[in-house]
């Protein structure tokens, strides 16, 4: 389905609305702060090329779009194909996507659909050979038919409704094997132990680089700001994985040097914030940016566009093909802290652990209007955090820029109250 509103083709790319939206956000990320790490230049440039200038991100072979972190990317790599995460953060595409979904749906789902229906979609990753849509939340489930209606080839990867039972585990392992069969049809290749091992080595190298970056954020005063880390993890959605890993390793080396030099990326007393809830996806880095523009620093996150996507690693018992596939399946189900699962105490445990080990002063909980599961977990998360003496600010927002004034007031007041409390405690 072509979108009747897409008249941007005649315009030079950088004048299109989606490009200018991305450019404004990048300008804020780079210009509103001093001392950006020089090795972040790779990522700033990557986003400028892909989002503002509409340059193609070169890809070889079969491209498989993914709509969620539940799609096992190692399998996709093992078949010689490349995964591209499609979750979109653009307000421009959010508005286009409103044609497909009810008005009160989640911005992320709307923007993803809006992007997929556009002729001039960014980032430019080329035509997708398949979109794998894990059956997670209701809105994503129902998006399958709409994506198919746009002419995309869609594969529904069946996720069980719970994650704890043995039944769920077996169900999911079968789903993942079925997915491998589909990938075999798509690529005409066979899944071998060697290919899968190579694919797993590739993602595990990326994950190790991420963990190193993640651990640097424990340091106080901070060595790097959260807005940069969100940009790094967002680049993972579409960048070449090896090139991405190299760039993160260079960034890590620079942070190690910063640590030696006693460099401070934020003031010593800057409130340290743990970010959780609906994922910040470029260019919608509105809320993390407001936190850091107001003098806070995001030191850790529990979101599916960063930590939840990259932290948990595969653990294999026996390196036999079937066993490896099952272990992969486990990695994508067991540690996941998505609120779609009925029992999600793991999320609370993880938040408490992050809050403690990263010396967090407060938690900011983002819920996209229309994402009911995140809204429903808000209360239990707040109660658990408050019981542990950690304050939490819940914010409901979406991709539109019109609540920026109120968001700023709330964030500033939250940071001021943290500072006052700390001052009185000492």
């Amino acid at each position: 389905m072509t979108n009747p509103n897409a008249k941007t083709a005649a315009l030079p790319y950088n004048r299109s609305r989606q490009a200018r939206e991305a450019e404004t956000m990048l300008d804020h990320i780079t210009d509103d702060f001093d001392d950006n790490p020089p090795s972040m230049a790779y990522f700033y440039d990557l986003f400028r090329r892909a989002y503002c200038r509409g340059e193609s991100i070169e890809r070889e072979g079969v491209r498989v779009g993914t709509t969620c972190i539940h799609a096992p990317e190692e399998l996709i790599y093992a078949f010689g194909a490349t995964p591209v995460r499609l979750c979109n953060g653009s307000y421009h595409y959010d508005q286009i996507g409103a044609d497909f979904m009810p008005a009160k749906s989640c911005s992320l789902v709307k923007a993803t659909l809006g992007m997929l229906s556009s002729e001039n979609a960014i980032p430019k990753t080329g035509k997708l050979d398949l979109i794998v849509n894990p059956t997670t939340c209701d809105q994503k489930k129902k998006a399958s038919a709409m994506m198919a209606g746009m002419g995309h080839s869609v594969y529904e990867l069946e996720l069980p409704p719970a994650k704890e039972s043995e039944q769920a585990r077996v169900y999911w392992q079968r789903s993942v094997r079925e997915f491998a069969v589909r990938l075999r049809q798509l690529t005409g290749k066979k899944l071998t132990r060697k290919n899968l091992m190579a694919a797993m080595a590739k993602t595990s190298r990326a994950q190790v680089a991420f963990r190193t970056l993640h651990n640097f954020r424990r340091k106080a005063p901070s060595l790097i700001l959260g807005k940069d880390v969100f940009l790094v993890t967002n680049a993972y959605f579409f960048d070449d994985i090896d090139r991405w890993t190299d760039a993160v390793e260079r960034l890590n080396a620079e942070l190690a040097q910063r640590e030696k030099d006693g460099f401070c990326a934020a003031q010593k007393k800057a409130p340290r914030i743990l970010f959780t809830g609906s994922p910040p996806v470029f260019p919608n880095l509105k809320l993390p940016l407001v936190i850091e523009q107001s003098g806070g620093v995001v030191v850790a996150d529990e979101t599916c566009s960063a930590n939840r996507m990259l932290y948990d690693m595969t653990s294999v018992d026996e390196w036999l093909l079937n066993n490896m596939v099952d272990s992969l399946a486990d990695k994508y189900l067991k540690p996941c802290t998505c609120p779609i699962f009925p029992n999600n105490d793991d999320r609370i445990r993880r938040l408490l652990d992050l809050a403690k080990s990263f010396a967090v002063d407060g938690v900011v909980y983002q819920t996209f209007a229309g994402c009911q599961v995140y809204e429903m977990e808000q209360r239990s998360v707040a109660e658990a955090l408050n019981k542990a003496g950690i304050v939490m600010l819940a914010v409901e927002t979406d991709y539109s820029p019109d609540d920026l004034g109120q968001l700023t007031t709330r964030i500033e007041a939250f940071l001021e109250s943290i500072k006052t409390r700390k001052r009185k405690a000492t």
Binding site: E396, T397, T408, T409, E412, A413, E416, S417, T420
Partner: protein, 267 residues
């Protein structure tokens, strides 16, 4: 003598408060925000100084707050209106035996703030980007009913029937709901009371989110509306502390902070 100022640039009104060296309130001024926030804020400060026979140089420290706080570059510092409101209400509330919960209804926001025994903000909640239940809502409603904003309180108490129910939580939808009620021949008095109760119910939900502790302080422009005060008291089932100048509590809080920043040598 030295003075310290708090300048609260809100969406609808600009409020200025001056405190003297002892921390006493020396004067307040309220004027419309209009569209030229910066120019009007400067004029408001000038007017207040002139009225008290003071010159700008006597104001040793000025803190801006409110929606337009970042626009006023002449300020020494800025602070969010939630923190400023807490400081102001804590100070004014002392005369009433101390307050712990603040309900503030402004031109386009409504907030509930909980403060601890030392006056620090311990929790707060704010409406999400929607003018329902705010001063703007009253403004629109008064215009629909063809009455002055100041008359809303009188209409509230003059009703003979039961307050009507206004279900819409959106200002725009509520507007058509009000027009619908008028078209059905309902009295303005009952509609006004209904509007007040609808705001009161939303306010109660907001306050419950932060937890209601005694005493509850109510400020912001709409606190001048006696009908609304009565409706909120009814919904809360307790008395509200309404200060003499409900519009300027936040500006006063910013002025108090300006004084303490200056005296503690942070300036």
């Amino acid at each position: 003598m030295n003075y310290f100022a708090g300048l609260d640039i809100g969406s609808t009104a600009i409020k200025v408060a001056l405190v003297d060296e002892e921390g006493g309130l020396a004067g307040v001024h309220v004027s419309d925000s209009g569209s030229l926030f910066h120019k009007n804020a400067k004029a408001a400060l000038g007017l207040l100084l002139e009225r008290h026979g003071l010159v700008r140089e006597q104001v040793k420290y000025l803190i801006a707050t409110g929606y337009g706080r970042k626009l006023f570059k002449e300020a020494d510092d800025s602070i969010s209106e939630i923190t400023a409101n807490a400081i102001g209400a804590f100070e004014v509330g002392k005369a009433f035996g101390g307050v712990r919960t603040i309900i503030n209804i402004g031109g386009q926001d409504s907030k509930a703030i909980q403060i601890d025994a030392t006056g620090s903000v311990s929790n707060f909640a704010m409406n999400d980007k929607c003018a329902a239940g705010t001063g703007r809502f009253l403004d629109v409603a008064a215009r629909n009913l063809d009455i002055d904003l100041e008359e809303l309180g009188d209409y509230h108490f003059n009703g003979k029937g039961v307050p009507l129910t206004i279900n819409s939580t959106c200002t725009v939808f509520a507007e058509s709901e009000i027009i619908g009620l008028l078209a059905n021949g309902h009295g303005k008095e009952e509609i006004v009371a209904g509007i007040h109760y609808s705001i009161a119910k939303r306010t109660l939900r907001l306050a419950k989110r932060v937890g209601i502790e005694d005493r509850v302080y109510f400020d912001g422009g709409p606190a001048l509306n006696k009908g609304l005060v009565a409706a909120i008291q009814d919904e809360l089932q307790r008395e509200l502390v309404v200060p003499e100048h409900p519009q300027t509590t936040t500006a006063f809080g910013a002025a108090i902070l300006a004084r303490s920043e200056f005296l503690s040598g942070n300036a």
